[in-house]
Structures are given as structure tokens and as C-alpha cells.
Amino acid sequence: MWRFIAQRVVYTALTLAAVSVVSFLIIQLPPGDFLTSLAGKMAEQGGDLDSASLAGLKARYGLDQPWYIQYWRWITGILLHGDFGQSFEWNKPVSELLWDRMGMTLLLSLVTLIVTWMLALPIGIYSAVRRYSVLDYVVTFLGFIGLAIPSFLLSLALMYILSRYAGMSVGGLFSAAYVNAPWSWAKLVDLAAHLWLPVLILSTSGTAALIRVMRANLIDELHKPYVQTARANGLGEMELLFKYPVRVALNPFVSTIGWVLPHLFSGAVIVSVVLSLPTAGPLLLSALLAQDMYLAGSFILILSALTVIGTLLSDLLLAWLDPRVRYQ
């Protein structure tokens, strides 16, 4: 087991190193750099940057260096000092911008995940056990609708309806009065009053997919001989259901737990932009558009790290669940 873990950890480190190089390279691929996008933005406003100032700024930001030197500077800063570099656009340390946003992102993702599972698992179990009942058809139908509507469209529609008919302030996670207030009970209540909308939107599509997976998995299990045996031995229907088939049907969820975070994260980017949420998505998007190298690179690195670490966790969990995995 320990050898397996060690092996996986080494692979993880190598993958992360590769991801960091590739992400940095990909961000560098589009022509131009932070300064040309700045000049472009100014040109649209009718202003201009003269070439002397441009050259001076290039040197200050280190943009006159080839990409691998910029990369080396960035990655050694992270490894040796935990310093993710400076954001050009914000003129602030990347780490400061990053953790602020990451906190909100994790909160949103976790709440969404919990809501998704709390909705999807019972419904999935129900519709597997009461297959082809009226309620099964109803939830399946609703599920497919949820899956089919793109979340950005749902956000726009809900935003419109809420602001037009309910007079709600849309956008953001807090009311104007609490945006800059220190944390308090009232602020928490205010957060909850705003959080449900993005959570609802984000969990809609996830729930639908999960219901289908759970339903299919469980139906497979319900007809296996061990269920028949247990039933023949007089085990109660409910106890039987949750003790064996449901547990087995949950297996695929455990092995994909690592993908949940990045999935929620990337799904949340568009919704966050539309709803103006203070999460990482909109910041990453604007960093990519402005070619703000270190900020965008750090975001992608951390996201990848979360994915890779998540996968590692799933692997370990699976290895623990199913001994065969260890000896492959």
C-alpha cells in the first residue's frame, strides 16, 4: 500500500510540473502581451501609448524576456518563497488576489456539491426502486430539462425574472449594505439570501446528470443475486437497500470525487460572470483577456493542482475500497 501511495505522489508531482509548463506556454501562445492589450484598450478609448513608454513598461514587467525565463522566475518564486508573482493588471501580489477569491469559490462549490448530492441521491434511488412510476417519469423529465438548459441562460432568465417581478437586487453575493462590512451574523444571513440563486443554477445540471447515473447504477445492482439472497434471508426492504446495493452503486461517485471540484469550478465561471459573483472565475477570465500572465498562470496551476490532488485522493480511496487496484 505504501509503495502504491509513494508512486502516486511522485506521479502527481511530475504531472503538476508538466501542467505548470504547459499552462504558462498556452497563455503565452496568443500573439501580443499584457502591454499590447493595454494599448488596444486605450486605442479604443482614443488614447495612445508612445513607443518609448511602451519599451520602458516592457522592461519593467519583464515582458522583453523570452517566455521560459518568465516561467522560471515565476515557478522558482512559487517553490522557494510561495510567491506567485505580481499581477500586471492589479499591480498586486497574485497570492493576495487568489486566496480572497478562492475562499468564495470553495464555499460556492462545496454548497453546490452538497445540495446536488442531497437532491440527486435520494431521487436517483427512488426512481431506480420505483422504476417507471409516475413520479419517476416526472423527476426524469425535470432532470432532462435541467440538463438541457445551459446554466448561463438559466442565470440570465432567473436574473431577469427576479429583478423584474420580485424587485431583487441581482448580481454579487451580498446586498450593498454588507459588501464591505466585517463578518457578522447579519452578513451571513445576507450571504445565504444571495447564495441560493447561484447554487440553484449550478446544481440544476449536476443534479440531473447524477440522478441518471445513480438510477442506472442501482438498477444494475438491484437484480444481482446477492440482493435476492439477502431478501430470501428475510432482511427488511429498506435495510437491504441501503446496506448493499446503494453502497455499491455509490462506488463510481467516490472514484470521480476528484473531478467534482474542477468541474464545478469551470461550470461556475460563466455563471459567476453573468451574476457578477466574487469568485475566481471572472478574475481568471479577465486575467486571460488582459494576458495578465502570472495571475492567469497561477489560477490554472492551482486548479490543476486541485484536480490532480483530487484524483490522487480518489485513487487512494479506491485502492482502500478495492484491494485489486493496488496490485495492478
Partner: protein, 647 residues
Amino acid sequence: MLTSQRALGRAILYLSIGCGVLGISELTTRAALAADYKEAPGLAKEVAGGKLPPVAQRLPDNPLVVKPVNSIGSYGGTWRQALVGASDGLLERTIGYTRLVRWDPQWTGVVPDVAESYSVNGDGTVYTFKLRKGIKWSDGTPFTADDILFWYNDILMNKEITPAVPRWLRSGNDPVVVSKVDDSTIQFSFKTPNGMLLYYLASNLGSDILAGSPAHYLKKFHKAHNPDVDQLVKAAGSPSWVALIQAKVGNWQSPDRWRDASRPVLDPWKLTVPYTGTTQVVAERNPYYFKVDPEGNQLPYIDRVTYDVMGDVQSVILKATNGGLDMQAQRLNSLETGMVLAAHREQGGYKLFKVQPAWSNGMLICLNQTVKNPVLRQVFQNKDFRIGLSLAINRDEINDILYAGQSRPYQAVPRPGTALYDEKLATQYTKFDVKAANEAIDRSGFTKRDDQGYRIGPDGKRIAFSIDVQTARKDHIDALELIRKYWKAVGVDMQPKPIESSFAVARMLANDQEGLVWIGGGGYDFLGLLDPKWYFPYENQSAFGSAWGIYYQNPKDPNAEEPPAWAKKQQDLYTELLKTVSDEGKLALMRQILAITGEEFPVIGTDMDPDNYGVVKTNFHNVPEIMPDTAFYVTPGPTNPEQYFMK
């Protein structure tokens, strides 16, 4: 002092011509003011509690008197606005518009602001500014000539902080010399005449001076004044002291200075929550603001200004239609948004005010006459060819489809109603006429056609080229698709090439573009002088002749190329204009430049950019019904937001 009076007199003359009342009221009401100034009720408590000195001590000896647009206001309220993303320029425009000197509301001239008066010597080499005695920063520290000197010596002249002195503070290659005459008098001197300094100071560029001026605050971030600066750098997580002080000072190009709420300002409102990734930016009244209304009430009237930081433009529009914005034009000022705003006036409880784009043209077509491909170069440099292409464009159709009929066919010239407007230049070659277009192109010599009807160029191959268009400008892409069709009808194969705007700029910088469409600046008189890039080869962004423009900026640049005689003549005229002190002289020279532009026809215009709208709540007052819209005017800064009020 005689020159100073003459300068003031000229400013007043200009103002009265342009119906500007601000400057006049300033002079007539000054004497009438008694010493009993009034202030916002919120501040009275702090004064009574001993936290603030009385209002008369906070104001300078000679406060600037602002005449309200409609009526004297009442104190209080929060002015709610919304901005988008990380580098929106809205704060600069709505609370950061204080300058040494600034534009009058009608944009007809320059008037004093922080400086109580200014004078220029005869040849435009020495500018003298008298600061208001007793004027104070928002933390109560006096603002003196030494503050400006700090900006000059320690920010502008420091090679690390300012790698290159910007163009507007040089005459030729020599940077400005700033010197102190006495505590409230400073001088800007140039080796050779600089006729444009006042205009630059009044435009968006001018805010850089005051941003770098609070010496008492900035010194602790400056290596030369604080040997222990490294501790601050470390604490702030900055890579160097230069980066740290840059983040305090910024320059108008990036909103860095709005990331720091502790930097003292001379603006009407002062940040309390900075623009640093939070979802709302907040500014509150500056108790030391140096302006009063004619009844002696200290300005601003409004207590707070808030900016919700949004992820995209659509949510700003939604906010506006719901009545969530009190007064704003930025991000709402596009044609289709205008229609949405008009439809929701009742629901949102607002009115519309007109913002006039400073653009001469909604979309200019630049065929790069200095393109690296020698065949295309020969084709593009042929004036008859360009005239033919212009005649082939159905501008009325573009107007109907893209501008809802709100526009009119137009070439690249300043807007109607300005001193530089010329009807003939504005309308030449704009009449849609396929027959005349074909004749013009035939005159150019490219008469032979291939089997698909396309014309053959000088190399025996089809005349085919691409035009760069920004992906973000859907209207430009659509217009270009129509133009592709029009030009195909006269045998020219043009392909629109949508690219991201930073890529477009990168290509312009390298003179790589075959053609480019862009919105056309220089629509107002002063803007024509400040931003002449579409009228003659001025810099790389003069995309119809980038290499010639680069030559004007720096003849030694590897991409530079000596321009032809006509363009050289324009460049010489502009160099002359930069040295000319009088407004009339400058406008006369600009007319000559424009006459050559009209004659040589380097840029093909399409339709004029129609008027746009901003929203103002019905309980929000003193906003003019119309204002120019451009970063150079710092919209709405010159309309004096400090005298806006709510009731």
C-alpha cells in the same frame, strides 16, 4: 501678471462665446461671498466634536465658485454607479477629474482648477501656474508648490519609476523643466515652444501630476526619502519599491491609483474602499474640497459614491433598467443599449441624457499604404482605387441595418457644429454609385478581370486582401461583411479578418496589417488637435500608413519609412501646430492639415457615430442634457459632478 490677465481674459472670451457661464460666475460672485461658508450637515458634527477644523479653515483663501447647472443643491445621498472588471476607467472620470487646469463644460477652452490662474509667455515656452493659497489635501495637509516639485523630481524624473518622459511633457526630445517660484507659484518651462501643454493638462493625462504630488504621503514609499522602504515593500508583498510606489501613483492608463484608499487627494470624494477585487468601491466626501457654490455651500453636495464591480456589461444594463444607477453613461453608451434604456425609463425611474461620442466616424477603413506586400502597396497607394471603393459602399444601407437610421454617411472629419467641420470633406465620395465606382477603379488602371469577375492587380493576380477587425466589435464585423459584398460587385476581393484587439494592436505596432477598421477619433476640435492619428500619419495607429506614422514619432525605428511629400507636409504642419500658442493659430493649422487629408483621401469613412445616452434618475439633478463623451474630456468630469445633487 499682465500675461496672466490676458490668458484669463482669453479664457473668458472663449467661455462667453461658447455660452460658458462657469468662468464668469467665478469672477463675479467671488467678491460677493462673505466669510460664512456652509458645509454638509454630516461634517458639522465632526467639527463640533473637534475632529475637523471649521469649514472656513478647511477651504482655501480663494475657493473656486462653481455655478450649478440648474439650481443650488441640497446635501446628502449616495451616487450609485457600476463598473466592469479590473481596469475600468470610471473612477478617473467621475471622482478623479481634478487638475491644475481643466476643460470648461462646453469644451470650448481651458479654465483654472487647482491653479487659481495661469499664464503663458509669448512663444509658449514658459507656463506659470498660481496655486490657491491655503488649499489642502483630503487629510488636511497644505498643498503647495513643493508637492508639484516632488512629483517632478522624484516621480517624473526618476528613471526607475518613469522609464521615459511621456510625449506630452516633452517638446521635441527635451523634457519639461518644472521649477518653484514661491510656495504657491510653479513654472513649466520648455526649450522649444509647446503650444499644447494646457490641453494635455486638462485632458485625461493631466491627472498624473496630482496623483504623484502628495509628497508628505508618498515620501515614505520612496527610496530616496525613506532608507527603510524595504520593510514596507515586504509588508505589501511587492517585488520592489518601484512597483510599490507605482501602485500608489499609477498613471491614467491603468487604475492603479484607485487601489490605494489612503493616498490623499484633491478630488471631491475620497476612496474609503479601494478598487482591489472587492465587489464594491466606495468614496466619501472630501471635507477639504476647495470648491463652493455661489451661496458659499462647500461642495460636493452628495455624501458618498459607490461603484458595484460587475462581471460584464449586461448586468450593468440590467442594473440601470431597474433604477439601480443614479447617473451613469459609461458602459451604457451604445446604440442598442440606448433603445433598451429608453424602453425602461418608467420602470427604472430615470431620464436619459445625451452623450455625444467624440468619434468622427463609427467605422473607418484603413488600407495600409505602407503594407509590406509591394503589390498591395501599389494598389492601396492609388487614390482612384480608394475613391472607387468609397463610392461602392452603400452607406445608407449600413446606416439602416447597423445604426437604426440614426446616423448619416460620413468621411473622417470632425463632427458638425465644431470649428473644424467641413461639409465638403465630410460628404465627398459618400454617394453610393456602382457605375461611378467602377469608373474610378478603371481610372486607377486595374481594368482587367479574371473569370470570376475580380480585378487583376499589377502582378497579374487577383486583387485580394484582408482587413483586421476586432472580434469585440460585432457592429464592425457586420458592416465589413456588407462591404465585402459591395466591393465584390466592383471586382475587389476583400476578406474580413476578425481578431482580438490586442492582436490587432500588435500587428499595427509591427506594421503587419493589410487593412484595418477602427472607430475614428478626433471628432471634436480639441480632440482633432490632441488625437490626429486618423487625419495624417502620426504614429503606428495611423493604420492607413503605419510606417510613415512611426517615422514621425521616431525616424530611427526599424519599421519607420519616410512618408511622401503630402504626408510630410502634414507632419510639418502639425509640428508647427505643437509650437503655436493661440487657439486660433492651432485651428488654422489643423484646417490646413485636414484640407490635405480631404485632397489625398487616405482613409475611407463609413457612417458617423450616432448620439448615445446615459441614465439619470428623476431625483438626481444638475446633470446637463448633453455632453461630449471621450476619455480626453474625462466625461462627465468637466460638467462638475460635485454640484450634482439628489432630493
